[in-house]
Amino acid sequence: MVNYYVRRTARVFVTIYLVASLTFGLVRLLPGGPFTLLRAQLLRQGVPADEVDARIANLQNIRPDAPLWRQYIDYMGALFQGNLGESISLGEPVVSVLASAAPWTIFVVLVSTILVFVVGIFLGSLQAYWEGSRFDQLVTGVSISLMSVPFYVVAVIALYIFAYQFGWLPTAGTVANGVERELGVPFVVSALKHSVLPILSYTLGAAGGQALAMRGNSIQVLGNDYVQVARLRGLSDRRIATRYVARNAILPMYTGFLLLLGFRLGGTVILEQIFSYTGLGYYMISALNANDYPLMMGTFLVITVALVLGVYVADLTYSKIDPRISAGESDEAY
């Protein structure tokens, strides 16, 4: 039997390869073709046809007149070398646009997803311990209400109240204009200030959902006989709460955490638009509006790869965390 980890790792590369091929294919299938518009524009501006072809080839690493299989090989070859072509609207290599945008998105998504789980687990376990109490009912009600409000509505309301009405927080951007883009106190403070509202609106509703999940898990674990036996043995409540209840209740949520991390990267498209937060999602929308196909493909590829990696890490580490799941060795007889 080939080692599970080797097989699982191979699958990641296959998936990424398929995603890249799909992006190539989708862009070819788009009505009008990706570069028809650009070519028409350039030709109308009086640029010689040869030069137009050269510029387009440069943009996407393809020769428009080459057969499709040739274009495909060129595209994949460039991709393999980390070359995603050049952004049409920004006139910069796509890789450098993504490199400057990705940290912001990752920062917002990572912090808000961790907050979602910390808040959710904390509230959910308290709810389970006080099942049926006023607190439980209140948190359940608030969680369900927040879950049913989409995050972009929360974002717009938060932006209106805290940024426009009270003026406590900035309305747009990642850092204030005058601040030097280098690691220092003013930069960090400004960056944090700008990220408060995006993180807050991206956390609230999702945290409610996780609280409800944690509540259900904990109540189920609390009903298990081993918790009762642990109490009979006179173990301290704190030890039971952490080693017995919390651990077994959090485990099933771990995979969800990594998956959610990947999915929420995609969700930033709308979030960053609302806050004019120049992350991956922001550039994806502007690329779409500007018919900037190389940039679109680049952001799409990065977001998908992030999701694939999230699932990959979840799969690999879950067996380390939960002994009941033995990675791919389930056929080993005991």
Binding site: Q228, R233, P323, Y334
Partner: protein
């Protein structure tokens, strides 16, 4: 002065039964629906007025239909369930008074708590899935013998695992619960309970989830270890033949429960051979290897199969709605559990030759 007081206490504790239940009642309020705000909450009488003594090295097997309250009675006797009325004493100390710190507490609640242990029905849910067997078993030793070093602890665990038939112990010790079979998990649960050095273990349907072929083995193991560890057992089963096997081999008693009441209790052989209560007879009929007349097995020795609602139990003797021997008197008066403590006791008018029962008319439906 305090010396004599102490010895007097000691003596009193020695004379007291290990666990003693007195007029214990456990009533549950049924959860109310959204629209019954103005109605009286329904009360389920899970256990109703039971008195029972459990001695050192005693074996008591409780049998009865599902829902008759045998589990609740078992949990009450090990202090897991607070009775709504009556008292539970451990060596003379009121368990719930000790818990609440009421009155003079001779035996602290923590000590009572660790002396009364349980083995559950579902072995899969009674072991923490995230701990290795060796860690599961190490905890009770850490609690009862804090000064024992890790090496000796491991040795003790290995020898106990071997004792419960899990060889090679070193191999089993490093596994997680899900890597064991149900029977092996139940042995670990038994070993864990025994490591607390308990005086009483409640085996709550502990063998019901096991393969039929493993049940006798498990019961033998429990009885074997009873001698080594000096414990008593309350063994709950819905199967009279298992209860009989356990009580006979453990030289103990069988208690028969019906709708929250103890209707008959006595030594195993006596109770099976000569049941004093018509309900015990029904249970015997329902157990194929105990039915005395194979040909008579077609007709149940009762008038109705339906179990009455425990929220509103029948008046008088609770079994009168189904009892083949019931007469008018049974509808009005409730027979008490007659007889000396420790002897064969039955709650049925038929054991009182001069009761008015004999003069009243038989019930017909």
């Amino acid at each position: 002065m305090s010396q004599t007081h102490d010895t007097a206490d000691r003596r009193r504790q020695d004379e007291e039964p290990l666990v003693s239940l007195e007029d214990v009642e456990v009533h549950f309020e049924k959860n109310q629906g959204l629209f019954d705000f103005f109605e009286e909450p329904e009360v389920v009488r899970a256990v109703d007025g039971i008195s029972l003594d459990i001695e050192e090295n005693d074996v008591l097997a409780l049998v009865g239909e599902s829902g008759c309250g045998k589990s609740t009675l078992g949990k009450t006797s090990i202090g897991l369930q607070r009775p709504t009325a009556g008292t539970v004493r451990y060596r003379g100390q009121d368990v719930w008074a000790a818990k609440d710190g009421r009155g003079d507490v001779d035996i602290p609640f923590d000590e009572i708590r660790s002396s009364l242990q349980i083995i559950h029905q579902d072995p899969g849910s009674s072991l923490n899935p995230n701990q290795r067997i060796v860690d599961i078993l190490a905890q009770p030793i850490k609690l009862t013998h804090p000064d024992v070093g890790p090496t000796e602890r491991r040795e003790r665990i290995y020898s106990l695992l071997e004792r419960v038939g899990m060889n090679p112990a070193a191999d089993f010790a490093d596994r997680y619960p899900h890597q064991l079979s149900g029977g092996e998990q139940q042995r670990v649960a038994l070993a864990r309970a025994l490591l607390m050095n308990p005086d009483l273990i409640l085996a709550d349907e502990a063998i019901s989830a096991l393969d039929v072929s493993l049940r006798v083995e498990m019961m033998d193991l429990m009885l074997d270890l009873q001698e080594d560890f000096d414990t008593s057992f309350v063994f709950i089963s819905h199967d009279l033949s298992n209860a009989r096997y356990f009580a006979e081999h453990g030289n103990g008693r069988i208690g028969v429960m019906y709708l929250g009441e103890l209707v008959e209790v006595g030594r195993a052989e006596q109770l099976i051979e000569d049941p004093g209560h018509p309900y015990t007879n029904v249970l015997r009929w329902a157990t194929p290897d105990l039915a005395l007349h194979a040909d008579g097995a077609s007709e149940p020795p009762m008038r109705k199969i339906d179990i009455p609602d425990p929220v509103d139990p029948p008046s008088g003797c609770r079994f009168h709605t189904r009892c083949p021997e019931a007469r008018e008197a049974c509808r009005e008066a409730c027979p008490a559990l007659e007889g000396e403590t420790g002897a064969h006791r039955t709650a049925c008018f038929r054991n009182q030759p001069d009761h008015e029962y004999w003069d009243s008319a038989p019930l017909e439906d």
